[in-house]
Symmetry: C2
Subunit: 187 residues, 2 copies
Amino acid sequence: MEGQRLPGALNPSHFPAKLWQLVNSPRFGSVRWDARGEGLLIDQRLFERELLGAAPAGQGAALTAAFFKTRNFPSFIRQLNLYGFRKLGPGPLQGLAGGDGGGSAGPLLHFHSPHFRRDRPDLLVHLKRLTSANKAKLAAGLQVPSRPPQRSQRLLGAALHGDPALLPSRLGEAARPGELGWAPAWW
Amino acid sequence: MEGQRLPGALNPSHFPAKLWQLVNSPRFGSVRWDARGEGLLIDQRLFERELLGAAPAGQGAALTAAFFKTRNFPSFIRQLNLYGFRKLGPGPLQGLAGGDGGGSAGPLLHFHSPHFRRDRPDLLVHLKRLTSANKAKLAAGLQVPSRPPQRSQRLLGAALHGDPALLPSRLGEAARPGELGWAPAWW
DNA sequence: GGTTCTAGAACC
DNA sequence: GGTTCTAGAACC
């Protein structure tokens, strides 16, 4: 399980953290690592059913866990591109994807970012939202700050990942009512 | 049935002609006119099944008529935008869409172009592919030429639409073998 | 920062 | 000209 812990410095409500949790979660099969742990394999059909609440055609829209706010798969792709992921086409690199993944319903999309690797959660902090402003800063060699998670978010993350180092040690620092009394629907 | 005939000047292999035939075809329910005949109502779920060969989830990909070359719905949207269609959001205009369309499987997308109206096939010639070059020409008040359909395509269109004026009147002008010996799979 | 709609560009 | 991938911009 090493390498699957979400670094505490990441804001769990932002896309990189959510994606990290998603790919490492046994709950979901639509997003997983490729054979080398250096890219993402995404089963669009399964993704829409698991995460976007798409009904199996004929049934009404099922209410589903709100991992993402959207109901549209293209918005997820937009997020990937916005954070610098690139699609890997069919070819030698794609060949490393690693099989059909066992019962996948549809074709797999293969995406890659140099800052998103299974064994390198420390690189996640380099995933930046590539707005034009941020790109200009990065091009100029400047730093792009990340808003750190709020106290309640850090507590939640620590609780979810069982990281005692991040949990309050004294009662006086304990979570206020409501602060830890919930969990995301997708967990 | 007036107004559903494809103008002979249009190249039937290009997007505007295909879209016109699609929305006026009784074969397909995924694309149809809104209540005013001034916009398109598109049922993405049905569109993917009818025209892109999407399997009903679980089954393998079904082989389907090749109305479009793509298997991806976003490519169809890209075409709409490329030809100047804009999406109408929920609101007063959207309210004119006209019901759920009778058994539509999913939510409807509403798109509009001033050159695409049920009762005005004569406007279709103004639908231009909005490349940056074409947009510059249009902005300069210049004309953007359309490649006219080839002889075989004119003949096919005339035959499909039963337009005797466009069909050869003498045997010497008749179609050569193979020229009319086929029809699109989707017809 | 996330989501949505549209457009640029490259490839076919 | 059609298709695909990525990005800009506006809105939330």
